[in-house]
Amino acid sequence: MLEIKNLHVKLEEEDKVILKGVDLKIGAGEVHAIMGPNGSGKSTLSYVLSGREGYEVTEGSATLDGTELLEMEPEERAAAGLFLAFQYPVEIPGVGNMTFLRTAVNAQRKARGEEELSAGEFLKIVREKAKALKIDAEMLKRPVNVGFSGGEKKRNEILQMAMLEPRMCILDETDSGLDVDAMKLVSDGVNALRDAGRSFLVITHYQRLLDHIKPDVVHIMAAGRIIKSGGPELALEVENNGYADLLAEAK
């Protein structure tokens, strides 16, 4: 599904190299987790994959089902099936959540040559999916993320994911700012989307999210590289011992 090869990335405006040769391969239906200390490049990886400005790829590639992502516009990547759940979902005053969702869904359908959903069809689907995430009608009417609590914002990200039905989902610290109940709700939302044709890359600091969203593979990232990969037990090791041993081992 997603294949990253020898990815090197620096900041566009300054000579700061953030990713120094990332290799990662995620198969269809797999869930991979990336853990790592602050500043190791986890969020940068998610931004570079989704096409945020401000980064310069100096080497390497990232393909989604064989198609090079790095040359596409962000909206083209989305239409190709990539989705990033933001660590800090953006507030957009003046744009209604419903308008936003419908514009996004129909733009992707259009880009893929599918017919746009009618207002009625859309409403029916969005209501059903919102209900499972305990998102009420009021939240759908409000401007995108404006006045939402931390938990509401993250639930709204998962709603977007459920509506857009991407094949490759990247969750960037989706657990940050969530209480136990909200984490359960969000995880249930993610798990409901797991299937053989959909893959996940879960970026997190804490093992507890991985109790809910069980990964197939866990990667440890440090200083712009993946230094170790393993099974779910690797996350437990980090939880118990921190990164010091792993970092020492890598050197």
Partner: protein, 428 residues
């Protein structure tokens, strides 16, 4: 001294060929305005209130020719609204294109039929509100209009008008120079909506005087024409009575020079005055909102919401003032002026002012100018929304607070779709 002489010479040139007509009350009001005008002279760029907008093309003897404009397949503004239409072509009333001016609860009289008639209500409005609005800031172009305008309507609502009155201004001659003067009185408890649309002429100088009596409601929505080369100096003077409501919204898309002045006086207690504007300009576009709101009554509320979207060297100006008179306690004044600069060539000049002589008031003002929010843009794109559509969504969101001031949802939707169309045509 030299300035005074220059101003007086400019005035002579500007009024050459114009005459003050009428032997009745209207003639008297015009002669009074003529005298006031010669005392103050025409504005120049050296005047404090014309620092950001050069009035030269508005005061020069003949207008700069303005090419006619084809709006393509865009329907006229307020297309779906059933209204009584009064049509002007290059500033001259065209009865043939207009509806019969008969509307239950509303009296409509052309200015030319008013002079000989003893219309008491208009005598207390024509030139009167304009003259009150000359203090403390002089507005000579309005006085020029009061003295020389021969076109316009006197409209008086005595009940709730079942339909809006729609003033339609066509521009058919590249050199037309129009002056329109309307007087409106909404009597106690009555309600009236006035719509205005169109470029009117190569150059237009207009005055609308509005008396909103106690408990009356007045709505004003206008869409200024899309002609790129037109020039406009418009004035609205309103006196708002106790528990009365005044709401005005202006859409401006294109136009090389627009100066919209609104001078509002909340004269009674518990009155409400809202003025809002959405202006979008690309290239040769200079748009100036100059607003002065006086709070004289108790517990009055005023809102000024002005938003401008500027690109390719377009210029936006906002001069807004709230004056709270002694004793106008519990005043609630709000003023916001914002611009969205879509490139580094455009500019926004803002002069927000508050002058408060009462101690128990709430007044706020804010003015910002900024670029489009790149983070929000990326967020939308990352969900599959193409950049152009995402930009358009964000620009409309920026304008939303101003459009939100329009009460009628059908009209608001019409304005929104016109802005959307404009944004699509002016891709950035």
């Amino acid at each position: 001294m030299a300035l005074a002489q220059a101003k007086s010479e400019a005035l002579a040139a500007r009024t050459d060929g114009l005459s003050v007509g009428g032997s009745g009350w209207l003639g008297a009001a015009r002669r009074d305005a003529q005298a006031r005008l010669s005392a103050m002279g025409l504005p120049s760029k050296r005047d404090e209130y014309w620092r950001y907008t050069d009035p030269a093309s508005l005061t020069q003897a003949t207008p700069v020719p303005a090419a006619l404009f084809d709006a393509g397949d865009e329907p006229p503004a307020f297309n779906g609204i059933l209204a009584l239409r009064l049509v002007f072509v290059d500033g001259v009333f065209d009865a043939g294109q207009s509806d019969d001016p008969a509307l239950a609860g509303v009296e409509i009289t052309h200015l030319s039929q008013a002079d000989g008639v003893d219309i008491h209500w208009a005598r207390e409005v024509y030139g009167v509100l304009e003259a009150r609005g000359q203090v403390p800031v002089q507005r000579p172009l309005a006085t020029l209009n009061t003295a020389y305008a021969t076109e316009g309507f006197l409209i008086r609502a005595t009940a709730r008008a079942e339909r809006p009155v729609s003033l339609v201004y066509h521009h058919n001659s590249t050199t037309s120079d129009a002056m329109l003067h309307h007087c409106i009185k909404v009597e106690k408890g009555a309600e009236l909506t006035i719509l205005e649309q169109g470029p009117a002429a190569a150059r237009i100088t207009s005055v609308m005087e509005v008396e909103v009596a106690d408990g009356a409601r007045f709505h004003h929505i206008r869409a200024q024409g899309r002609d790129h080369e037109r020039r406009a100096a418009t004035h609205v003077f309103a006196r708002i009575g106790a528990e009365a409501l005044f709401k005005s919204f202006t859409l401006t898309a294109n136009g090389c020079l627009t100066r919209n002045e609104q001078v509002l006086e909340l004269a009674g207690d518990d009155g409400v005055a809202h003025v809002a504007g959405a202006a979008v300009g690309d290239g040769v576009f200079h748009h100036d909102d100059t607003v002065f709101i006086t709070h004289a009554g108790l517990r009055c509320e005023s809102r000024q919401v002005f938003k401008k979207v500027l690109m390719n060297g377009a210029v936006g100006v906002f001069q807004g003032k709230i004056l709270v008179k002694p004793g106008a306690q519990k005043t609630d004044g709000y003023q916001i002026s914002q611009s969205l600069l879509l490139d580094g060539d455009s500019q926004f000049l803002a002069k927000p002012e508050l002058e408060i002589y009462a101690d128990d008031v709430k007044c706020s003002h804010g003015s910002t100018s900024g670029a489009i929010d790149e983070t929000a843009l990326f967020y939308l794109q990352s969900r599959g929304v193409p950049k152009r559509v995402a930009q358009s969504l964000l620009v409309l969101a920026f304008l939303a607070e101003a459009i939100g001031e329009i009460e009628d949802e059908v009209i608001a939707e019409d304005i929104r779709s016109r802005l959307e169309g404009w944004l699509q045509r002016h891709e950035h």
